[in-house]
C-alpha cells in the first residue's frame, strides 16, 4: 500500500502522543486500486477502558461516522492502524484472532511500534480469510506531497 509522507507522520505522531496507551485510526482510500493507495487517515478514540495499554477498540458508532463522511467524499474504509507500545510492529495473536472473527478479508492494518514514547517502526499487513492470517503488505511512502482537494479538508 502507498500513503503520503504527511499521513504516515500523522499516524506516527498519534502513536507517540498516545503512549503508553494504544491508539487507533482508520485508513481511507478507494477500493479496487492495486496496490492500495491511502488517500486520508482519520484518528478515532480507543474505546478500550480496562486495558488501553495493551488493547484497542474502535467503536462501531465511531466507525460508522467515519465511514459516512468518507463515502460523502468518495472514499472508503480500506483498513485501520493501531499502535503497540513497547511491542513489535507486527499483529499479535489477539489481533489475528479478533480479525479472524470479524469481517476482515482484504482489510489493511498498519501496526506502529512505540518504544519509550518514540515511534520506531511502522509495518503494513493485510488480512486473508483463506488462511485466517495477516500477510505482510509492502509499504510505500509517497514523499511528493500531492495537494489534497479542497473538499477533503474535513480530514
Amino acid at each position: 500500500m502507498t500513503l503520503r509522507a504527511r499521513d504516515l507522520e500523522r499516524i506516527l505522531e498519534h502513536a507517540r502522543a498516545g503512549y503508553p496507551y494504544e491508539v487507533c485510526g482508520v485508513l481511507l482510500g478507494r477500493l479496487g486500486s492495486a496496490p492500495a493507495r491511502i488517500e486520508a487517515v482519520r484518528e478515532v478514540e480507543n474505546r478500550e477502558r480496562e486495558s488501553p495499554r495493551t488493547r484497542y477498540v474502535i467503536a462501531p458508532e465511531d466507525l460508522l461516522q467515519v465511514d459516512r463522511q468518507a463515502r460523502q467524499h468518495g472514499l472508503e474504509v480500506l483498513g485501520y492502524y493501531h499502535s503497540h507500545p513497547d511491542h513489535p510492529a507486527r499483529p499479535s495473536e489477539t489481533d489475528r484472532r479478533l480479525a479472524a472473527e470479524s469481517l476482515s478479508d482484504g482489510v489493511l492494518h498498519m501496526v506502529v511500534s512505540v518504544h519509550g514514547g518514540r515511534t520506531t517502526e511502522a509495518q503494513a499487513w493485510v488480512f486473508r480469510d483463506a488462511r485466517k492470517q495477516f500477510e505482510p503488505e509492502p509499504l510505500s511512502v509517497d514523499a511528493q506531497a500531492t495537494p489534497r482537494k479542497e473538499e477533503d479538508s474535513w480530514l
Binding site: 460508522l64 465511514d67 463515502r71 503497540h84
Partner: protein
C-alpha cells in the same frame, strides 16, 4: 419500500463490488434473507448458527444500532439507510 444498504469492503465480493444495494424488506431479519437470496453468503457472514447477529457485526438503521432497538425484528421503512459495520479490536 426500498431501503439502502451500505456494504463494507470485506463483503463487496458478495455484491460484485457494489458499495450500496437497494433492498425491499419490512424488517432487519427479512433484509438479511433478501441479501442472502440475491447475494449468497450474506447469511453466514452476518448470522451465527442460531440465527442471531454475530457479535462482531453491528447493523445500524440510520444512526441507531439495532441492538438498542428490536434487533432483527427492527422494522424498516422506505428511505432508511442500513449500514453493516464490523467490530474492530485488537492489541498486543
Amino acid at each position: 419500500m426500498a431501503v439502502k444498504v451500505q456494504i463494507p469492503g470485506p463483503l463487496r465480493s458478495l455484491t460484485a463490488g457494489a458499495a450500496e444495494v437497494d433492498v425491499e424488506a419490512s424488517d432487519v431479519a427479512r433484509l438479511v434473507e433478501v441479501l442472502q437470496e440475491r447475494h449468497p453468503g450474506f447469511r453466514e457472514r452476518l448470522l451465527d448458527a442460531s440465527g442471531q447477529l454475530r457479535s462482531y457485526v453491528r447493523v445500524f438503521v440510520n444512526e441507531e444500532d439495532v441492538r438498542s432497538l428490536q434487533r432483527q425484528a427492527t422494522p424498516l421503512k422506505a428511505g432508511d439507510v442500513v449500514a453493516i459495520v464490523p467490530a474492530i479490536a485488537g492489541g498486543r
